[in-house]
């Protein structure tokens, strides 16, 4: 009698995880399939990974995605950190509530709406769409995530540490640069990695903001899949999963790092 609920719980857990991860596991396994047919196992092989490197269009898209992610995450980190400092340190300035709400709104904004409005803006301003428009779009989408992570860290820091810096003769600017930012550094790194990851696997906003010659990797995969799944796509997806997993690992470590810890 007592074992039944436990067995039931184990089964539920197993089912839950299977539901979440079985498709991904399948994708990873089939990326090592020797056969060209996606549904037939033809033995283990890494030939599709080799084929990837020879596919110019995929390599080009991967390179674009990587650059977009690196640059947009840097921009988002700078802006998000500023917003976090304003929210966590400037006290109750006028319009603070509105500022907080508007900083955080993109967290829940439907991506299609965000993408479409950016597209309209770019068209209205007659900005040629390409690499930089994707960077801007991604930075605006991800900076709120950085702001949330950094703000949480700052609010956990004893205010008297910064007061002590002032007491010891540091101007407010020196206090920010030598005390506040170093203490917040782990969360800033975590925010960067999060923004990088979000940018790397975004399809929707990138589709609105991209132009000819700036097709990101997720967009490339998405359009390729519409013509049918190929083992090559499995391989490139697996590579992305590995990269994202590494990023999330760094993110987790950085967020858990103590204030004095090296990142």
């Amino acid at each position: 009698m007592r074992r039944e609920p436990r067995a039931f719980r184990a089964a539920a857990l197993l089912f839950g995880f299977a539901f979440l991860y079985a498709p991904i596991a399948l994708l990873v396994i089939y990326s090592f399939n020797a056969s060209r047919l996606v549904t037939v196992w033809g033995g283990f092989s890494v030939r599709w990974y080799g084929a990837l490197l020879n596919d110019e269009r995929i390599v080009e898209s991967a390179w674009i995605s990587l650059r977009v992610a690196l640059v947009s995450a840097a921009l988002a980190t700078a802006l998000g950190t500023c917003a976090a400092i304003a929210l966590a340190r400037f006290g109750r300035f006028r319009g603070r509530g509105l500022f907080a709400a508007m900083t955080m709104a993109p967290l829940v904004m439907p991506e299609v709406v965000a993408g479409l409005s950016l597209l309209l803006l770019f068209v209205a301003l007659d900005v040629p769409r390409g690499f930089w428009t994707i960077v801007l779009a991604h930075a605006s989408m991800t900076m709120c995530f950085v702001a949330v992570v950094v703000r949480e860290r700052l609010e956990g820091v004893d205010r008297s540490i910064e007061e002590a810096a002032g007491d010891l003769g540091a101007s407010p600017g020196q206090t920010l640069w030598r005390v506040t930012l170093p203490i917040a550094l782990p969360s800033i790194v975590a925010g960067y990695v999060l923004a990088f990851t979000l940018s790397l696997d975004d399809v929707v906003i990138a589709s609105f903001a991209s132009g000819p010659g700036s097709t990101t990797l997720p967009m490339r995969i998405y359009s390729a899949v519409r013509l049918g799944v190929s083992p090559e796509i499995n391989a490139v997806s697996t590579a992305m999963i590995v990269l994202v997993a590494i990023c999330l690992g760094i993110y987790g470590l950085a967020r858990a790092a103590p204030a004095g810890g090296r990142v």
Binding site: A164, D167, G169, S171
Partner: protein, 364 residues
């Protein structure tokens, strides 16, 4: 400059938070080379006063002078005052020596000078072996010493210490108290210490300001505050005391002495009156437990007689609680050194008497 002029002069400082007056027109002077203590119950405004002197709170009224100069709107980083925070507030991302060097580097001192002063401070607080550790690798007492060294390295004209010893265990606290005194004497610096521990204030300070609800109730040397409390509240707050309701037996001028009739049924020897009192005026007579003597009561003993209701052994002395028929409880401290002296047990009937001239007359 006049060397007898106060180093810090706090004049009528007011600071309110919402409806609460944390500082309510507070004034006090601290002199050069003095070890000054602020003593008061929790929430009486001690931290707020420190923060006002350091520049973290802008007073709503009044002013703070340092060496006769109004600090006005001078921001904290430009005040020649340093503070040791209650939470230590060490920089978690810096080693012990980087923490200590921080303030010196902000002054733009040459590297060699910074290094020399850091070494000097590390020797002073005996942390030479821990110099490369980070704060999270230090014990509470070591952190406290780093915080002290970091503030002292700047050679401040005034060092503010906000309950720096509260987090330490008893033994370490005693050692650190001793250490602080030693450092203060060696450097000839002016220290202002916040505490709500009266023993700490008595042990360490040259002068004590007893605070209550944003005001100074009494300011003076520890012995003065202890032996001649200014009013009932201070008498009750500092140390253990018996407050007897009493009436004057004669008119008495300020500074003269006269006897008082205690409501418990005892007439005192003549007591010094700080203020003039009229015959019959109601006052309180405060007597420390060590100034109450007990003797075995004869069956027809005149004067106050009560029963010993409790005895608490304190090592060198025993604190006895004597309950009078009226329900009033008197505390008496009986030295244990006199072996073979009168011993009392619970339930014993005892007569009370007051050591001559030892009690204080309180008109407020």
């Amino acid at each position: 400059m006049d060397p007898s002029a106060p180093l810090v002069s706090v004049q009528n400082v007011v600071r309110s938070f919402g409806g609460v007056k944390a500082l309510d027109g507070l004034s006090l002077d601290v002199f050069r080379g003095e070890f000054f203590a602020l003593l008061g119950p929790s929430g009486c405004g001690k931290t707020t006063l420190m923060r006002a002197i350091a520049g973290f709170e802008a007073p709503d009224g009044g002013r703070v002078l340092l060496d006769g100069v109004d600090l006005g709107d001078t921001p904290p980083h430009k005040r020649p005052v340093n503070m040791v925070f209650q939470s230590y507030a060490l920089f978690p991302h810096m080693s012990v020596e980087r923490n200590i060097a921080f303030g010196l580097e902000r002054e733009g001192l040459p590297r060699a000078e910074v290094a020399a002063r850091v070494d000097e401070m590390l020797t002073l607080v005996q942390l030479g072996d821990e110099r490369r550790r980070r704060p999270d690798q230090l014990s509470g007492g070591q952190k406290q010493r780093v915080a002290l060294a970091r503030a002292l390295a700047k050679r401040p004209r005034l060092l503010l210490l906000d309950e720096p010893l509260a987090a330490l265990d008893r033994k370490l606290r005693e050692e650190t108290q001793f250490e602080l005194k030693r450092v203060q004497r060696r450097l000839g610096a002016t220290f202002m210490l916040v505490t709500h521990d009266q023993d700490e204030a008595m042990t360490m300070a040259d002068r004590i300001a007893v605070m209550r609800a944003g005001r100074v109730e009494q300011l003076g040397a520890g012995a003065d505050v202890y032996n001649r409390p200014a009013n009932r509240w201070v008498a009750g707050f500092v140390g253990e005391i018996n407050l007897f309701e009493a009436a004057a037996t004669a008119d008495c001028a300020a500074g003269a002495s006269c006897a008082f009739q205690l409501d418990v049924g005892l007439t005192t020897t003549p007591l010094h009156c700080g203020e003039a009192v009229a015959k019959g005026q109601r006052v309180a007579v405060a007597a420390r437990p060590e100034h109450i003597a007990l003797s075995r009561a004869a069956p027809d003993q005149p004067g106050p007689v009560g029963a010993v209701s409790d005895l608490a052994f304190r090592g060198d002395a025993t604190l006895a609680r004597i309950e009078l028929p009226s329900g009033f409880v008197v505390r008496a401290l009986l030295p244990n050194a006199s072996v073979g002296g009168a011993r009392f047990a619970r339930g014993d009937r005892v007569a009370l008497s007051l050591a001559a001239g030892a009690a204080t007359v309180l008109t407020s």
